[in-house]
């Protein structure tokens, strides 16, 4: 840190402590912001380092800043890409292990829910029936809420931050809505087994994992897609939203052909394998709650994207997906979407082109595409210009404000995300949430965002209450004017933000302004 900057930091720190009695934090943390001496011992941290880290994670905290200091960008990135699934902090791991969804069992749950619906429908009308339906609904709600809680806690606390960002990105790309059919029983497993497992792997595996998950099959109606009763819904979205993008050159004919390929791919029926003709038995396939039923499959020959696919059962699906993901349009579509999320609302064309080439060259290796992007000069040049969507805003605010301290209550976060219009598993349409600023920065959303900044900054958000609404631990407000701030944020603040902070009349207000500032809301 240069001397001028140090002097300024000292002035700011002194000014803060001069706020006196209101600033409980200065006394409480033993002498207030202690940035100057300790930060000076560390290597120089550039504005772009902070911003780079903001994007390669769900927001800076002390640990990630220290790690970036220690490793530098390239090694930091390699560690994120090559060693996913790093252990969670113990309190978070315990928290997640105690959830019912930690032992998600879609096969058993779907069988139970199916049986329960059946028995409810057979009940005579009256209170008992109403109560039984209510109990079933409450169980579904509980499981979906646990799935959301897991995702939020992992986003905040997982050391594998980039993996968690990609989990969010792919959950949004392969979006499902918890309110449809039995999805509330399935979304936790979908996130864990279909998405997280392949989030940094090969794109084709990811497509196949979602294709074979009951959540996707139910959400886009492929469980109803059978020979003679073709349902095109999933086939269409698989090409339009998941792989090629609209306008990629495929035709309605291709959609119909792919729908035929997908006939018979569905969800197991209450645990009873279907009775099949002898020649079909070898083609029957079952994996967890996924089922390929040859009796529902169209065995005719198909022509997809100009290639002939011989009708022969589930092997057609693998062939079709391979064809699709090897299309140059797929490489471009996925690269553009990743770059729109991480780089800029309109990412540089040359960068997207290189990412697409990497995608094609590596057969859709997601980690390779990310490496190309995060270390590109265009990425560095674009830093500071990307508006955080609600998820990134909320998670980064909690990471920054509480810096490793484990929150107990995620409900306020869920309410904020709902209020800002980005509820987890809550997008009703299959296109997922938009990734650009225009969708998140309306006047109503900005004032709502400021109110959330205030709730976090003033410590009134009940984040340390019990999840079930039980008694609060004594908390107080967070100390944002801390070492992390002086090291990684303060030196780079815009003049208007400095002015605002200088006019804060309390630590709480100061916290609020910082979290509401353009500096914090862009990365």
């Amino acid at each position: 840190m240069n001397p001028l900057r140090q002097a300024r930091v000292k002035r700011v720190a002194a000014a803060l402590c001069a706020l006196g009695a209101l600033l409980a934090g200065c006394a409480g943390t033993g002498g207030g912001p202690k940035a100057p001496a300790s930060a000076a011992a560390l290597p120089v941290f550039q504005r772009t380092d902070t911003l780079w880290l903001e994007r390669v994670s769900f927001g800076i905290d002390s640990e990630s800043v220290a790690e970036l200091h220690h490793l530098g960008r390239q090694r930091y990135l390699e560690r994120q890409l090559e060693a996913p699934d790093a252990p969670l902090p113990a309190p978070v791991a315990q928290e997640l292990a105690a959830l019912e969804v930690a032992h998600a069992d879609p096969v058993r749950w779907l069988a139970e829910v199916g049986a329960e619906y059946k028995s409810i429908n057979a009940m005579p009308d009256g209170t008992a029936k109403v109560e039984a339906r209510k109990a079933l609904n409450e169980h579904g709600n509980k499981l979906a809420n646990e799935a959301i809680r897991s995702e939020l806690l992992r986003a905040i606390y997982s050391p594998s931050q980039l993996q968690e960002e990609m989990v969010w990105f792919w959950l949004n790309h392969f979006s499902v809505h918890q309110r449809k059919a039995t999805l509330r029983w399935l979304v936790a497993d979908y996130a864990d087994r279909a998405i997280r497992r392949h989030a940094l792997g090969h794109f084709k595996d990811l497509v196949l994992a979602t294709l074979e998950h009951p959540a996707m099959l139910e959400y886009l109606d492929n469980n109803r897609n059978a020979a003679g009763h073709v349902n095109e819904n999933y086939a269409r979205e698989l090409m339009e939203l998941h792989t090629l993008g609209v306008g990629a050159g495929y035709t309605q004919q291709d959609v119909q052909q792919l729908a035929r390929v997908l006939t018979g791919s569905g969800v197991v029926n209450a645990g009873n394998p279907p009775r099949l003709k002898a020649e079909w038995q070898a083609l029957y396939r079952r994996d967890g709650a996924f089922e390929f039923n040859p009796a529902r499959h169209d065995f005719g020959t198909k022509t997809l994207l100009g290639h002939t696919i011989q009708g022969r059962g589930f092997a057609e699906v693998d062939e079709a997906v391979s064809l699709i993901v090897r299309e140059p349009a797929c490489a471009r579509f996925i690269s553009l979407k990743i770059a729109t999320y991480f780089v800029a609302d309109t990412p540089p064309r040359a960068l997207v082109e290189r990412m697409a080439l990497t995608f094609s060259r590596t057969d859709g290796d997601i980690a390779a595409v990310l490496r190309e992007m995060f270390l590109a000069p265009e990425f560095n040049a674009a830093l500071g210009g990307k508006f955080k969507d609600p998820m990134r805003f909320v998670i980064s605010a909690v990471r920054f404000a509480y810096d490793g301290r484990t929150i107990t209550n995620t409900r306020p976060l869920v309410n904020w995300l709902n209020g800002l219009g980005e509820a987890p598993f809550g997008r009703t349409t299959p296109d997922g949430y938009p990734l650009t600023e225009a969708s998140w920065a309306s006047s109503g959303q900005m004032s709502r965002r400021f109110e959330i900044a205030r709730a976090i900054g003033s410590g009134n958000a009940a984040l340390f209450d019990a999840e079930d609404g039980g008694a609060a631990a004594a908390t107080g407000f967070p100390q944002l004017s801390n070492r992390l701030y002086f090291e990684a944020a303060e030196p780079f603040l815009a003049a208007h933000t400095r002015d605002a902070l200088a006019h804060a009349s309390s630590q709480q207000e100061w916290n609020t302004f910082l979290l509401a500032s353009p500096d914090f809301n862009y990365e």
């Binding site: 009256g126 349409t429 309306s442 006047s443 004032s447 400021f450 208007h496 609020t512 353009p518």
Partner: protein, 400 residues
């Protein structure tokens, strides 16, 4: 309320100034339009009762609304030889109907047959032709708002919801604010000033300023509201309260509004003249009446459409409720509309005229009906109307 109050708010806003943001550049003339979306699929035939149909009474032994009784002024209100209005809204919507401020369009709805709440809600809000490639970033109010930018009317849109609804997708910037539980503004004048200043040279400055202003303005209006209610001892709540706040905001600035109201999914214990549905309808009716009164003279320059994703099964189910159906009844309200009619194509209701032997058929496609209404309201050219509802030739019911 209090026509005088409404006028006063209007003046205050003009004199007060300081609200000259981009989004607040409301035109001084041109119609207002509010869409009220009843989410959950309301049971339309227990609102607009086909009392001439004996099949209706056979189908609903426990929940039918009794035939109008000329000697009673609390039962269903006779609208014409076929239809009567539920007693729950007799004093509100019924009274307005008699003043020709309300029309109903039965057999209205969509061609979506999923009978799924969210799929049908989505398809209504998107308003795009069936069977084509859907654009999920383009709702019909968004397209309307963009289309009006090219006319002299130009809309000042607002959504009175927590999140921007699908219907408004695709429009440049539409502010949204739920008026349901507006607490005290989080920021006082000084804090709001500091926040605004932080974005002084930023491209988000107009959004930040408008957002903070809108929030403070609502807080201020609520303070006035509380002062007024403590004087007149009126205790409004629920949708009524939201409607009054909406009325004030639409009176002063906004010309294209959206709100959704939930609680209509009456599978169980629906009630008839009284009960769950009647309670909800009564609240909705009072709210719309308050909305009209709050607008004062401007009510004549305002049109409200109430719709829902689908109607419900014509027959009651085993739980004295109804299940997801198809055709619905839409409402059109306004101070200067050609109301006092039940409009659009209609059929006598019997078992043979039901759709799939269970629901009201759809004879009046909502895209055609709304397209016709928008066309008249804003004088849209056929090209402009087709931008809002592509491939849906407008059907003019001459209600406005």
């Amino acid at each position: 309320m209090k026509r005088r109050d409404a006028l006063r708010f209007g003046c205050a806003a003009l004199v007060g100034g300081g609200l000259a943001g981009r989004l607040f550049a409301a035109p001084t003339s041109g119609p207002r339009f509010l869409l009220v979306f009843l989410r959950g699929g309301y049971d339309a035939v227990n609102l607009l009762v086909p009392y001439s149909s004996s099949f209706y009474y056979e189908s609903r032994p426990n929940i039918a609304i009794a035939r109008p009784d000329a000697s009673s002024n609390t039962g269903a209100l006779t609208l014409n030889a076929d239809w009567a209005l539920a007693p729950a809204v007799r004093d509100t919507i019924g009274a307005m109907y008699l003043e020709r401020e309300v029309a109903f369009v039965p057999f209205a709805g969509t061609d979506d047959l999923s009978r799924s709440h969210f799929e049908t809600q989505d398809s209504i809000e998107l308003g795009q032709p069936a069977g084509g490639v859907r654009n999920y970033r383009s709702g019909f109010l968004g397209r309307l708002s963009e289309t009006l930018l090219g006319t002299s009317a130009s809309a000042a849109p607002i959504s009175f919801t927590d999140a921007l609804p699908l219907a408004f997708q695709g429009s440049a910037t539409v502010p949204n604010l739920s008026l349901k539980n507006v607490g005290k503004s989080a920021f006082d004048e000084r804090q709001a000033g500091i926040l605004r200043q932080m974005y002084a040279d930023h491209h988000l400055e107009p959004a930040v300023r408008d957002g903070l202003d809108l929030r403070q303005e609502v807080t201020q209006k609520m303070a006035e509201e509380m002062a007024a209610s403590s004087r007149s001892a009126i205790n409004t709540k629920g949708f009524e309260l939201e409607a009054e706040r909406m009325g004030r905001l639409m009176h002063d600035k906004y010309r294209l509004g959206f709100i959704d109201v939930g609680g209509w999914d009456t599978h169980v214990g629906e009630g008839s003249a009284q009960g769950n549905l009647a309670g909800n309808l009564a609240g909705l009716g009072r709210g719309l009446q308050v909305f009209s009164q709050t607008l004062g003279a401007e009510w004549s320059n305002t049109v409200v459409v109430v719709l829902s994703e689908f109607g419900r099964t014509f027959r009651e189910n085993g739980n004295r409720g109804t299940d997801h159906g198809h055709g619905s009844v839409y409402w059109v309200l306004g101070g200067a509309i050609n109301g006092g009619v039940v409009a659009g194509e209609q059929l006598p209701l019997s078992r043979t005229t039901l759709f799939q032997d269970r629901d009201l058929p759809v004879l009046n496609d909502y895209r055609a009906v709304l397209g016709g209404l928008f066309g008249r309201l804003w004088g849209l050219s056929p090209e402009q109307a087709a931008r809002v509802f592509p491939e849906a030739p407008p059907r003019d019911l001459k209600l406005v």
